[in-house]
């Protein structure tokens, strides 16, 4: 409807938008360039187009140390707080389990977590943990597909009132249990 002077740039900006909506983690400029085979200039121009388009809506392109992500504009925080007051405080059991597996067994890969929990890991949970800054990717496991290793962060320690991982409550030994699935 608006500027169609460069449809291909418009398309690239949409593909970037899709990746940002679909990714569990923030995406670095390099990752985006690689996924979509873009030059640095193309990326910068497409991001500008994206920023412009987003401006008419409620999302903003947010750049952090770990890369780009889409986030709801700060001006809506009061609305969210009013309607979903529990959104910030309540941690679901699935989220806690995932976080615990990472905390106690780090470094772990995604499939390690799935193995321990016996359940497919939902992207949404990982995204929430990344969003809170409680976990990060660091290094790769040297197996097929080179899955990323997940670790907890200093922010995780802060949120749980610890100064080091040594302060994690001791884990009772469950290895001996026969009935565990």
């Amino acid at each position: 409807m608006t500027d169609t002077q460069n449809p291909s740039l418009e398309n690239i900006s949409k593909q970037i938008e899709v990746l940002l909506h679909a990714s569990e983690t923030s995406l670095t400029a390099n990752a985006i360039k690689q996924h979509l085979s873009l030059s640095t200039t193309e990326l910068q121009r497409a991001l500008d187009v994206l920023r412009q388009r987003l401006d008419t809506g409620v999302l903003r392109l947010h750049e952090t140390a770990s890369g780009y992500r889409l986030q709801i504009a700060d001006s809506y925080s009061a609305l969210i707080q009013r309607i979903f007051p529990q959104r910030q405080e309540r941690l679901s059991q699935a989220l806690l389990e995932t976080l615990s597996v990472i905390a106690y067994k780090q470094p772990v890969t995604r499939s390690d977590i799935e193995y321990v929990r016996g359940v497919t890991l939902s992207s949404n949970i990982l995204r929430q943990l990344f969003d809170r800054g409680w976990i990060k990717e660091d290094g790769y496991k040297d197996t097929l597909g080179r899955p990323a290793f997940l670790h907890t962060t200093p922010q995780f320690l802060d949120a749980f009132g610890m100064t080091s991982l040594d302060e994690l409550p001791p884990m009772p030994d469950l290895a001996a249990i026969g009935g565990v699935n």
């Binding site: 504009a73 941690l91 976080l99 302060e167 009772p172 001996a176």
Partner: protein, 303 residues
């Protein structure tokens, strides 16, 4: 424990000396494979159908190929190009049993459901082989029942494939994920969480009670929470009396749920009773003893 029921069945039927059904057949090295198969199958199998033969090492893969014994039976029916409604059960039974007979004892634990089906088939087979004293009408015909089950299973298998062909969220279409506004804007101070949340969540994950257990209303005092909390206390802080383990805020329901939690943990051999008679000099204190008509039980972590 998917196989324990069929294992127990075999143990009792054949009077195995092994009294621990959980330890299973695979760990019972004293039982030679041959011996085992003779005990279960009276009829020795002469030969395997050619198109079905799979080397024994491949049984694990084979078991994964089929969703269960009904799925496998259905495969045999298809192989033989038989009309389900007019199916003659005997050849299918023969094939099934000969195949199951090849199962290495190693895989018995995986194969519990298949063995259960085998016993049903043997029952049907023996009935078919015997001269027939017309079956009384009020009794279920096991052959008809099996065919009915196969039909029903075939229906479910078909619709499950149809279900899988629907456009599905998170496979064919995807939800958009966005982040919340900046944390400092959302909340001046983020709530802080207790690290015990982490350990409790792991304990809950591993010790969750069977979904079948519905002894207590779910919400007032969740059983999983109690199991986790009692495990954590006993494993990290040594032996406690039952009374010490109670969360006094939870009232009577809390006592009942805690008791069930203790029973559940004992059933799993994770906790046990401390024998107070031998080593508890405290009990010589007359005052404490007289307060309790029954000596308080002390629980300890075993795992």
């Amino acid at each position: 424990m998917p196989t324990s029921s069929s294992q127990q069945r075999m143990h009792s039927e054949y009077d195995q000396p092994d009294t621990n059904p959980v330890s299973g057949l695979s760990t019972n090295k004293a039982t030679p494979a041959q011996d085992m198969s003779i005990r279960i199958y009276q009829t020795p199998v002469q030969q395997l159908p050619h198109d079905l033969y799979v080397p024994p090492q491949a049984f694990e893969i084979w078991l994964e190929q089929f969703a269960g014994p009904l799925d496998f039976l259905l495969y045999l029916v298809k192989k033989n190009n038989v009309d389900l409604t007019q199916m003659s059960i005997l050849p299918i039974t023969e094939q099934y049993l000969s195949y199951i007979n090849e199962l290495d004892t190693e895989y018995f634990e995986l194969a519990g459901d298949y063995l259960l089906m085998a016993s049903t088939l043997i029952a049907i087979k023996s009935e078919l082989l015997l001269p027939t004293p017309a079956i009384p009408h009020d009794e279920r015909d096991p052959k008809a029942e099996l065919i009915e089950r196969l039909e029903e299973y075939a229906q479910i298998k078909t619709v499950s494939q149809r279900l899988d062909n629907l456009v599905r969220l998170e496979r064919d279409v995807f939800l958009a994920m966005v982040s919340m506004p900046s944390a400092d804007v959302m909340n001046a101070e983020l709530p802080s969480y207790s690290p015990t949340l982490l350990v409790d969540s792991l304990l809950k994950m591993q010790l969750q009670p069977d979904y079948q257990m519905h002894t207590v209303k779910v919400d007032t005092v969740p059983l999983a929470d109690r199991i986790a909390s009692i495990s954590r206390q006993l494993s990290t802080k040594g032996a406690h009396s039952f009374y010490d383990l109670l969360d006094k805020k939870q009232g009577e329901v809390g006592i009942v749920v805690s008791f069930i939690a203790v029973l559940e943990l004992m059933k799993r051999h994770l906790i046990g009773l401390v024998s107070t008679h031998l080593d508890s000099p405290k009990n010589t204190d007359n005052e404490t003893v007289s307060k309790h008509v029954i000596e308080p039980l002390t629980l300890e972590w075993l795992a």
